[in-house]
């Protein structure tokens, strides 16, 4: 009788706490906690043991273990394993900027260079193809990272660098530097970098000039050598009247 009463009490309390727990879960999701869905897809990716560990509240430790394995695979230049492990790591810890950034860096910088220098592949066309595929993998990591962390500037900056250095796409690079600069906690140089990249874009020189000039007018602290060089280049290209140009630096 007593146990039956306890069971009824537990069910009644359960009914009371249910909306509270649901409400808390919704707030957690809104504030970017509990970003991982525990489903069969994750179970297949992690294996039995990893899944159980992740399920028991040790998701971060499992992610770290896999990250260390990825680090070892990188030292051995086992690129497919690095890719696979980083996919698991980022699935487990989607709020960790570091993991997305490292995954993208390994793919777009390290694996792509290794693919280009692959002596086992004599055909240049195939080496270039492999290199482009690694660029795309790096880009994919960063885009998914941004989707999971739209409020933090670091991955926008990483994607901007990837567009700048790997795709030589200055327009997209400028766009992502600007997106990063608009977020709280972004370093001051993001705004400058966005304008630099825009200055390389055909047809957008006027816009770039105005942005660089605005930064220049903000004060002495912003008048860095690259900024002055780009401004002078644009002044010549746009034919800015002499009286509106910035002064030459004293020798």
């Amino acid at each position: 009788m007593r146990l039956l009463l306890v069971l009824v009490t537990l069910i009644v309390i359960g009914a009371i706490k249910l909306p509270v727990e649901r409400d808390l879960a919704v707030i957690h999701r809104q504030e970017h906690f509990r970003g991982v869905e525990f489903n069969l897809d994750l179970r297949e990716k992690l294996g039995q043991l990893g899944f159980i560990a992740a399920l028991s509240g040790f998701r971060a430790i499992v992610a770290d273990g896999l990250f260390i394995q990825a680090h070892v695979a990188w030292e051995r230049t086992e690129w497919s394993r690095v890719l696979l492990l980083f996919r698991h790591v980022t699935t487990l810890q989607p709020r960790s900027i570091l993991f997305w950034d490292m995954a993208a860096w390994h793919m777009a910088w390290n694996a792509s260079v290794a693919a280009m220098n692959d002596r086992a592949q004599p055909r240049l066309a195939l080496r270039v193809k492999a290199q482009r595929e690694y660029f795309a993998l790096g880009k994919d990591f960063l885009e998914r990272g941004i989707k999971n962390n739209p409020d933090r500037p670091q991955l926008y900056e990483a994607l901007a660098r990837l567009y700048k250095e790997k795709y030589k796409d200055h327009e997209r690079a400028s766009e992502f530097f600007a997106k990063s600069a608009a977020l709280p906690g972004a370093p001051r140089y993001e705004k400058r970098f966005s304008a630099y990249e825009l200055s390389y874009c055909e047809g957008r020189e006027r816009e770039a000039y105005e942005r660089l000039r605005q930064i220049y007018d903000e004060g002495e602290k912003e008048r860095l050598p690259t900024l002055i060089t780009r401004l002078k280049f644009l002044e010549n290209k746009l034919g800015i009247p002499q009286d509106q140009r910035i002064p030459d630096r004293a020798p």
Partner: protein, 300 residues
């Protein structure tokens, strides 16, 4: 007023001194079991992982150090909560201590409150010691990285140095870790109270530990079951009833796993912290009360 009435009046109601005596006694008993060796293992884990991580960058090193330390704190406090509590009542029955205590004018609820108080105190001491060790290691590593960075960047522009130092500080020791640690403690308290409740109707401590292991896993899945139960309509009624039972009877332990995301850089708001803390305190109180209720009906 007769002498008997005076004695009865003196022992009526709640006596905090009696509860405190049982609490201190329980803590002493648990300490004699050398449970604090767990802290030694924790310290070794911290030192070991710090040495191992020398080859990583400071961000990787700090993140892994925090993950391992907070994960280990969560494992050790949960294990301590379950194992220490599971043996309390069966051991007292076996040693016949419970008869000696309850033969005196000590109400059963005071006995249980004292017992759970002892475990919660043990958990608090363990959490404080582990946190102190973890924060000390993290602080030392952060200071060492800061000094190294200053030395390496001595000729760099001031703005760059400031940016780098800011990056080091933001990935090292920060205030967001403290609410995470408190939530770990509250989760352990919840588990201790639940173990006490299970142990009031269990016959052996092995049974209690096995049941608690199942509850631990089910509790981490409860949120998934709850969402499936409340949202899905295509599954059969047996599945529906099963999911309802899981959602209603078990606590949502995933709600207390905030440290993973805190380490990853998500700041915990005061609202989330308070709601989670209140939920933890609510569960601890309810399970303790249920344990008292069952214990009153137990034949001793």
């Amino acid at each position: 007023m007769s002498n008997e009435t005076v004695v009865a009046a003196r022992h009526r109601g709640v006596s905090f001194s009696r509860v405190l005596a049982i609490t201190v006694n329980t803590l002493t008993e648990l300490t004699r079991l050398k449970v604090f060796y767990v802290l030694l293992v924790f310290a070794l884990l911290l030192i070991g992982s710090s040495i191992f991580m020398a080859q990583f960058t400071f961000q990787q090193e700090f993140q892994i150090l925090k993950d391992i330390s907070l994960g280990a704190m969560s494992i050790f406090t949960s294990l301590l909560a379950i194992i220490a509590t599971a043996r309390l009542i069966p051991q007292d029955i076996e040693d016949r201590t419970v008869y000696t205590i309850l033969a005196k004018p000590v109400p059963r609820f005071e006995y249980l409150l004292g017992k759970i108080g002892g475990v919660l105190l043990l958990l608090a001491i363990s959490t404080v010691v582990m946190s102190a060790a973890f924060l000390a290691v993290l602080y030392i590593r952060e200071q060492s990285v800061l000094h190294m960075t200053l030395r390496q960047m001595s000729s760099a522009p001031r703005e760059q140095v400031d940016d780098t130092l800011r990056a080091v500080r933001s990935s090292g020791l920060n205030l967001d870790l403290f609410p995470g640690i408190i939530i770990i403690y509250l989760k352990a308290c919840l588990l201790a109270a639940l173990t006490l409740f299970v142990s009031t109707f269990a016959t052996t401590n092995i049974f209690t530990i096995v049941v608690m292991a199942f509850i631990y896993f089910i509790g981490h899945l409860q949120a998934t079951a709850r969402e499936y139960w409340l949202q899905e309509h295509s599954s059969g009624w047996i599945t529906h009833v099963f999911l309802a039972i899981v959602a209603l009877l078990f606590p949502d332990l995933q709600a207390f796993n905030l440290v993973d995301d805190i380490v990853a850089g998500t700041a915990i708001s005061l609202g989330v912290f308070l709601k989670t803390a209140i939920l933890g305190a609510f569960y601890t109180t309810i399970y303790t009360l249920l344990a008292v209720f069952v214990f009153y009906g137990k034949e001793l």
